[in-house]
Structures are given as structure tokens and as C-alpha cells.
């Protein structure tokens, strides 16, 4: 028998929740963090539910940043790992668009899903958690690229999967046609018009060792503070 692995500084394994068996669809033990969010941020808290043993906490969009900051910093929470930032749009157009954060507390072995609902017709804006988790950088850019959700406070919010001049909209929105808005020939023409070099990060190129080796025209564009590359 080997002793259970205890990471220095982590909580006692005896007091952390064991792996759940026969998880019900709804109901079950609520993540204790949800109750603490409710008492500490009564204005931000909307509701909490347990789905398949995982706790969803619904928050007001503008308060997400403060709550996540608390979850990250507080010694009783210590959510030190942001596994995902994404969004959901439901087929029912009446339902609000949801932004989802997946947080994991490695010391306490807890998982918490935070959701913010953005009703249709309102500007799609949520605060960025990039100042708290650097890893949120590309996740939020992808979410912006695919859904058009603006993460306020993100230092470099631009498209990441589609090219920066992509003009057809946000592909994962339900009102986006599967084949795009433009005709095939127009899509191809626009794609071919983009310079492959324009995909590079302008900030990284400006500070790169090979800056002097870049074509003159590109150097001039970079010196002019151009961000989009075209």
C-alpha cells in the first residue's frame, strides 16, 4: 500500500470530495463555492444548479471578472486552472446566448462552471479574465472569432481561426449560413487576396530578430503601427 499522493500546500485528501458514482442528471451535492459566491456577491449571483454532478453558477455578465478574481485569489477557493472559455447559442432564438467559463481548483479537486447569459438584442459584451488567467488569451479570441462576443479588457482581441479580414460574420452563430454568406467564388477570391504574411502576429513581428529581413513594404506597415496586416 502506498500512501495517497499529497501535493504540498494542497488540501487534505480526507476532506476533499470523493469521485461521485451513479451521478444523477439533476441534483446532488452542490459545489460549496457556489454558496460562498452567493453570500459574497448577492448582486452578481443569479442561480446555481447541479447537472450531472457538476455545478453551474449563473452570474450577471458585468460581475464575472470580480467573481473569477475572488475564485482565483481566495485561499478557500483557489481555482488556479481555467480549462475553457466558450459560448453557447441555442436553436431557440428566444433563449439568451451563454458565455461559459470552466474553472478547476487543483488543490481542492473541484470543478465549477460559470455561465453568463446575454439576452438577444443586447450588446454581446463580457469582461475578460485574461488579466487573471493568461491562458484565456486565445480562448477568448476564439470565442470572439466564432460568436462575436467582445471580451472587454482583452489586450489583443482579434480573430484567431478565420483571417483578420474575414467579412462574413461569426460562423458559429445560429443565423450564419453553413456555407457562409458569400458565393464560393467570392470567398475564394477574398481568401486568395490575403497575404500569407498578414497572418503573423504584427506585435511579434515588430520585435522579432528578423525584422530587418522583412520586405521593405512590410516594415513600413509595421512601423506605421498597423495591426491588421492587410
Amino acid at each position: 500500500m502506498t500512501a495517497p499522493l499529497v501535493v504540498p500546500g494542497s488540501a487534505d485528501p480526507a476532506t476533499t470530495p470523493a469521485t461521485l458514482r451513479a451521478i444523477p442528471h439533476r441534483g446532488g451535492p452542490l459545489n460549496p463555492s457556489a454558496e460562498r459566491i452567493k453570500t459574497r456577491f448577492p448582486d452578481a449571483f443569479v442561480r446555481a444548479e447541479v447537472i450531472w454532478g457538476e455545478t453551474n453558477v449563473y452570474l450577471r455578465p458585468d460581475a464575472v471578472r470580480d467573481v473569477v478574481q475572488y475564485l482565483h485569489d481566495d485561499d478557500a477557493e483557489r481555482y488556479d486552472y481555467l480549462s475553457d472559455v466558450t459560448a453557447v447559442e441555442y436553436r431557440d432564438l428566444e433563449l439568451p446566448l451563454q458565455v461559459v467559463w470552466h474553472l478547476r481548483s487543483l488543490p481542492y479537486r473541484r470543478f465549477l462552471r460559470i455561465k453568463a447569459e446575454l439576452p438577444k438584442g443586447t450588446p454581446l459584451k463580457v469582461p475578460s479574465v485574461m488579466p487573471i488567467y493568461s491562458g484565456a488569451d486565445w480562448l477568448e479570441r476564439e470565442c470572439y472569432d466564432m460568436f462575436g462576443i467582445v471580451f472587454e479588457g482583452h489586450s489583443d482581441l482579434r480573430r484567431i481561426l478565420m483571417w483578420e479580414q474575414y467579412a462574413e460574420g461569426y460562423p458559429l452563430r445560429k443565423d450564419f449560413p453553413l456555407r457562409g454568406r458569400f458565393s464560393r467564388s467570392e470567398q475564394l477570391r477574398q481568401a486568395l487576396a490575403a497575404q500569407p504574411e498578414s497572418r503573423y502576429s504584427m506585435t511579434e513581428l515588430t520585435i522579432a530578430d528578423a525584422f530587418e529581413d522583412l520586405p521593405l513594404e512590410m516594415r513600413q506597415r509595421l512601423a506605421g503601427g498597423e495591426k491588421t496586416g492587410e
Binding site: L188, R189, A191
Partner: protein
């Protein structure tokens, strides 16, 4: 793209009324023999077809038998561009630039359904056939094609190479894209070819 009869194995045919001399035609045969048996591929693998391509190059199927054991990862030293896998629109200018960087003589094999026609990815992000970006010599069907399929395509390309004639003045002419649209195929033809299900522009995934 219908099924075509396999080219016969006669390498160089000389019509009796041809004005070409015996030396020229024999030289053709020698050069073509050398070229056909030392095609250096530029692998452009973007998806699962690349796995089959790797299997083709590995020991069991042994692409080296065809003089292709040397993968040329520089387009400047490559003879045949093998596009294995789907090409998203974001890669379209990249593969076109690679093609333009390759030196003549050069050929292109479009491997698999996605590279040839977009395959099952009839969506906003994927090019519907790389022949809209670069000229293609051989299409290999399959999803993905087995190594035997790719080898058959390569052998068809070898037949094509062996039939080239230096007396053909247009042999090495590069196809120039249309100056306004920058496309090899007229825009109307692309739109018509890529819309098998009616007006795709208004098709949505939710049926709204």
C-alpha cells in the same frame, strides 16, 4: 471527372508524318524516363490523407520503388505537389504560393475527396476543390484513398510524364489566373460546381 481509360503503355508514339527527327524523339523518351522515375514529391498533408500518404512512403508500400523516396520539403526542389487533405480558405494563398515557388517541370496530385472537391466539408471554411486554386494533373478519389490508390494515381502521372513531347510549344506554359478574379476557373463555373443542393448561400444549419 469521369472514369478514364488507363493510358496504354506505349511511351512515345511517333506519327510517320511527323516532322520530328529520330534523335529528338529518342531524347524525349530518355528525358521523360528519367523524370517519371524520379519525381520528388512536395507533401502538402493537411488531414487523414496524409496518414495514408505516409503509409505509402513507408516500407510496406515503398514509394521508393518509383524513385520518390526523397520527400522534398522545399518547393524549389520538388517535382510533384501532393495535396493530401482538405484545404481551408486560410490555406488557399499558402498552397498557391507553394505551387508558384515550384520550378518547372512540375505536376500536382490532388489526393482524396476533400482536396479534389471539398468532400464532406461543404461549409464556410473549406475550399471546394484545389483545382480552383492551382492546376491539377491527377485526382485520386477516396476518403482517404488507400496507398494502392495513391500509387495508381502516381503511375498515371508517370504515364503522363512519359508522354510529354519537347516539340510541344505549350508544354511548360504556366496557366495564368484571371487578372480580375485571380482564379483559374471562371467564377460562374466555381459557383455552379460547388452548389449541388440549390442555393447554398441561403442554407442554414438550423433551417431558419
Amino acid at each position: 471527372m469521369g472514369l478514364t481509360a488507363r493510358p496504354d503503355r506505349q511511351l512515345v508514339t511517333v506519327a510517320p508524318q511527323s516532322q520530328e527527327g529520330w534523335v529528338t524523339t529518342r531524347l524525349d523518351m530518355l528525358v521523360n524516363w528519367g523524370r517519371a522515375n524520379s519525381l520528388w514529391p512536395m507533401p502538402f498533408g493537411t488531414a487523414c490523407c496524409a496518414i495514408e500518404f505516409m503509409a505509402t512512403a513507408a516500407s510496406k508500400y515503398d514509394l521508393a520503388r518509383f524513385g520518390m523516396e526523397r520527400m522534398s520539403f522545399s518547393p524549389r526542389q520538388a517535382d510533384v505537389l501532393i495535396c493530401a487533405g482538405r484545404v481551408p480558405f486560410k490555406l488557399a494563398p499558402v498552397i498557391r504560393r507553394i505551387w508558384q515557388q515550384m520550378l518547372q517541370p512540375k505536376w500536382c496530385i490532388s489526393m482524396g475527396a476533400c482536396a479534389s472537391s471539398g468532400g464532406m466539408f461543404d461549409n464556410y471554411a473549406v475550399v471546394q476543390g484545389i483545382d480552383t486554386i492551382i492546376p491539377v494533373d491527377v485526382y485520386v478519389p477516396g476518403c482517404p484513398p488507400r496507398p494502392e490508390g495513391l500509387i495508381y494515381g502516381i503511375m498515371m502521372l508517370q504515364e503522363k510524364v512519359k508522354r510529354e513531347r519537347m516539340s510541344d510549344a505549350q508544354l511548360r506554359d504556366e496557366m495564368e489566373p484571371d487578372p480580375t478574379s485571380k482564379l483559374y476557373i471562371p467564377p460562374e463555373a466555381i459557383d455552379e460546381l460547388s452548389e449541388p443542393f440549390g442555393n447554398s448561400v441561403h442554407q442554414t444549419r438550423s433551417g431558419l
